[in-house]
Subunit: 232 residues, 2 copies
């Protein structure tokens, strides 16, 4: 499997490119609208056909590149079940498996940052954690039907039950980390270490974060898969 | 081997952490002064002892973290031979091998961005290319005794002669790419594809880039391994 981590500097978002090197079929996870040209160029250079644009959740901090990718490549857009995205070709729910040649992606429902959110376990050895789990952090829970208690359960019961050596690839990083492991996060993530559920809820409520700059634009746009111009 | 790519957002610099998971000994390549606390924290969390701080070259765009790491950890500072760095504990020259438990690092002299520059081939399967070769780009050659013709030779004769599937981990990236391969760069790097030596020299001379913001501070500091306060 070809696996590339791509970064959008403005929003500190990671996009992931996964491809089977025999069939040359590819999946993009959490593409960013402003980076679609970069990503399409990379697909062309590598001789890849994009089959799926897969979202971990409806983002509030950036507009997804999915609608543009659908238009440019004819790929299918896939979002978590229950996610309000009128444009999605498919929904994927907890435990469901998306297979593309040698690539096996298993959805792990991990709500809490938003009410509909999946992490994706890729070929058993790495997990794309979206905004549920960051490296030494986690997504916020104060908008888009976020719920700190539910996020605590998602991370501690669903993600932390994966094998310790599972690689963790997050949806964002703000400090220059690129990869971690489940073992590292269980041991060192300050949001979870030494906290029980109620303490975590209290801590998340105390953060008092400013609204994401793009939320008023991003959420409605992402409910249309990032299509700024028309509903599909 | 544990391998982590770390990013300094302000200067778009990649630092690499390499460690043997049995002996818990580690090497940092191209550390950034402002990120030393992050890097030390990571070493502590992972239970690693830093043995070497290794430079690809004397940087002009950021101050190295080496002096601070030497002071905080007692590691050794290693720079390419001929690099003017009064503080270095060791120099490493073309073909020389640095071994640390399961990690084998072979220096590949790749001057041109600066007159003394090494790429490092790590365990045969990945090369840290410093500022010689970027993903679809290369380092500039208009200061610090840079020489476009020499850089062309370094990249096309030394790096492009590695196996096509060798992973390329650059010293910087400005577009959100994290990793490439020698095969990709031979085929798609616009600085080299379709150019001969003289055409490359002409192209590099035409770039007319502004001076790096930190050059007046960074180069003299880096000649002291990033020690801003005293010479060693």
């Amino acid at each position: 499997m070809l696996f590339k981590q791509l970064f959008d500097r403005e929003t500190s978002t990671y996009t992931y490119l996964l491809a089977d090197q025999q069939t040359q079929e590819a999946i993009l996870v959490d593409p960013v609208l402003e980076q679609v040209e970069r990503d399409l160029k990379l697909l062309t250079e590598l001789g890849l056909s994009l089959r799926y644009s897969l979202e971990t959740h409806i983002h509030a901090d950036h507009v997804t590149g999915t609608a543009k990718l659908l238009e440019m490549t004819g790929c299918l857009g896939i979002v978590p079940d229950k996610a309000k995205a009128s444009c999605a070709d498919q929904h994927i729910k907890d435990g469901e498996i998306l297979k593309l040649a040698s690539i096996t992606i298993k959805a792990i429902a991990t709500p809490g940052h938003t009410d509909s959110h999946n992490a994706y376990l890729v070929n058993q050895d790495r997990v794309l954690t979206g905004d549920a789990l960051f490296i030494r952090g986690c997504g916020r829970t104060d908008f888009q039907s976020g719920d700190a208690g539910i996020l605590f359960d998602s991370v501690t019961q669903r993600l932390f039950s994966l094998p310790d050596d599972t690689l963790v690839y997050p949806g964002h990083d703000y400090r220059g980390h690129t990869v971690s492991t489940i073992g590292e996060e269980k041991r060192w993530n300050p949001r979870f270490v030494g906290r029980d559920r109620s303490n975590f809820i209290e801590f998340m409520a105390s953060l008092d974060l400013p609204e994401p700059k793009k939320i008023m634009e991003a959420v409605p746009a992402n409910e249309r898969c990032g299509n700024l111009l028309f509903t599909r």
